[in-house]
Structure formats: C-alpha cells, structure tokens
Subunit: 201 residues, 2 copies
DNA sequence: GTCTATACCGCGATAGAC
DNA sequence: GTCTATCGCGGTATAGAC
C-alpha cells in the first residue's frame, strides 16, 4: 500500500531485507517479550545495530510501530466482517462473523496477549478500530440485529471481549490452535444462542 | 491495617483530611480521566498543591498508588470468594461466586475500565491477584469443578474476562447499575450453564 | 513525621550534518 | 538512510528544612 516508487524493490537482489521489514519483525519479537511499554526505541535500535534516530526515520512515533505490528490482524478481521455482511440471512452473518472472529483471535493469539494488556497496542488498535473503517461498530452492527435490547448489547460485548481476552490468556498457551478454536467457537455459540450450524458449509 | 501507633488519629479534629487520603482520591480521579500512564506524578502533585517528592513520601513508587487504588475492589472480591468457598454444594458455590463477581464488577465499573486498558493498574492488580492470596487461582478453582476439561477452562476464562471487560466498557455507561447487573448475571448463567437459581435466597 | 529542593538517568522525540 | 547532538519530561532518589 502507498506503493509509489517501489517496483524493483520487491524480493530484491541478495540477502538484505529492507530495514523497515526487519524493524517490524524485531519490534514484534521484543514487544511480545517485554510488552510495548517495556520495549524502548533504544532496545529496538540496538537489536538492529542502528541508532534511535534511524528508527525514527521509518516511523514518526513509537505508536506507529505498534499500529504497524497490529495491522495484519486487523486487516483479516476487516475481511471477515465484509464477508459476513455479504450474507443474506442474519443468522448466517452472525455464524460467519463468530467463526471468523474466533479464527483471527486464535491465529494471532500471541499478539492478542499484548493487545489486551498493553495500552501502547491497545490505543493503536482502538485508533484503527474506530478509525476510517470503525471495525467495532461494524462488528457490533452485525452481531446485534435490527433493534437490539440492552441484553443483546451486553451479550455481544461479553462475547467479543471474552473470546478475545481468553484467547490471548496465558492459561490457553498449552492448548493447540485447533482445540482452542473449537472451544471458543462453542462458547460463542452458546452465548449468542446459535446452537449449531449445518454440518456442511 | 498495619495500624500500629495510630489511636487518637482516627476521625481527627477539623477539616484537613490527611494527605494520603486526599492523594488517593485525587489519583483515582486523574487515573480515570487520563489513564494511569497518562497521569504523571507531577499532575497528582500539582492537583494537591505539593511537590512530586511529597507524593513520593507517601508511596514508594507509582505502582503503589495504582495498587492502593485497586485494593478496595480486590478486597471485596476476596470476601466473595471466601463466602462462595464456604458453601457446601458446588452448584451453590458457583452461583454465589457469579453473583458476587458481577456485583463487584458493576459497583467498580469505572475502575474496571482502567484495569482492563492500562497496564499500570493491570500489573498492580495481577500482583495482588497472584500475590499472597492468589485470587485468580481460587476463583478458577471454584468455577471449575474437581477435574475440568479444556472446554470448562475456556468457558470459565471467557466468562470472567468477558464479564469484567464488558462491565467496564464505554458502551455500558448508559445502563444503570441494576440493569447492567441483571444482564451480566444472565449472560454468566448461560455461559456456565446455571440456568436459574431458586427464587428465594 | 511531613514536606521542599535538587539532582539523576532513561525515555520519546526533533534538528541538522554527512 | 543513517548519525550526532540535544531537548523536555517521566519516574526515582537523597539531603535536609520544619
């Protein structure tokens, strides 16, 4: 995105990945190890063998790094929401959204652990979440039907918050992806009263 | 606690509340307005008309202020857990715990919004949560029966995280305490499969 | 026992040279 | 694209006034 002058860069010559990419990978690693707060620009710079100022050339602020790290997961969520919105029947929308949401949560659960305990990421995510696309409104809009009562709203919030947070919880690290996904899905269905989808897609 | 030499101090003379108490009240207000991270010791000191060092006299570190702010809620939770543990039947334990937890969440929901989005408080709470008393283990111990399977563990986590987070969510601020409590309780029951307690206590 | 003055160092961020 | 230098502010720490 914002491609511009790129062109020949992609999969360029020999070894050297461009700094921005290396930077993001390094930042993600350090973030998951020490949290966003606990990771200083100095640590990132040192790990890359450059100075803080060099890091600042690629990102205007630390929060931008956090946003960039969170972006892939948010983009996937965006796709899921679009797919869900495209379904005709409301029940099918909810089913697809739930399954897709759980899937994104499970596949990005290490990131999730960060999201939920670090305001650095949390704020970055919220910015994107309520930004241009406002993922949260769209999510809730699908989950809640045409005219939801207070109980529906509470239920939807508990479901999303619970699944998201539980997915990233330390106690879940022992479970393999598939097991976790199955259980989260089941819990979500019970919450949202969608007892069980038809056996074949 | 750690009373010691006190004695005559309690409910002392005229106007001046002791600084420590004013400090905590001020800190709580600023924390809820700007978050823990967003509140500097300088801001607290200014609001009280003292210097940073004075604040530092009462609390060795910023994290201690956060802990002190969170303490009342955690103590209430502690009581609820004890009460629940004292019940004879497991079903009654879960019912009491759920109702008590929801109640604490609702009454401290402003604080909750902080807990869940600010690692300052989050860490303080975790310290207490896993400290001496290890509230979390005891909570989970009651919620999960004798030998829980993976599904039970996931469910319990979703329930606690979901109720806690949803209770503090901005979207819930419009609901009055009683309505919120009723809906959270109902959602919790559905999750934990405790359909409905007997009509009279 | 309560507070002020002052200082330290690491942090995120900026400006400008190469 | 990277570096050196520097800034202001944050939490922390100590010495000492009252």
């Amino acid at each position: 995105m914002t491609a511009g002058t790129a062109g020949t860069v992609e999969a360029g010559a020999g070894g050297t990945e461009d700094t921005r990419t290396r930077l993001l990978a390094t930042a993600l690693r350090l973030f998951t190890e020490h949290g966003v707060e606990g990771t200083s620009l100095q640590m990132i710079a040192d790990a890359l063998g450059v100075t803080k100022a060099a890091v600042y050339y690629h990102f205007k602020a630390k929060s931008e790094i956090a946003e960039a790290v969170a972006e892939p997961a948010l983009r996937e969520l965006d796709v899921v929401i679009d797919e869900a919105a495209a379904k005709r029947r409301h029940g099918a929308q909810v089913d697809h959204l739930l399954a897709g949401f759980v899937d994104v949560v499970v596949r990005h659960r290490r990131l999730l652990a960060l999201f939920s305990s670090d305001p650095g990421i949390a704020r970055a995510v919220e910015a994107s979440l309520h930004g241009e696309q406002d993922l949260e409104s769209r999510l809730m809009g699908i989950l809640l039907g045409p005219d939801p009562d207070a109980g529906d709203v509470v239920t939807a919030h508990v479901a999303l918050a619970g699944i998201g947070l539980a997915g990233g919880a330390p106690a879940m690290t022992e479970l393999d992806d598939d097991t976790l996904r199955r259980h989260l899905l089941e819990v979500g269905r019970r919450l949202l009263r969608r007892p069980r989808p038809p056996r074949l897609a």
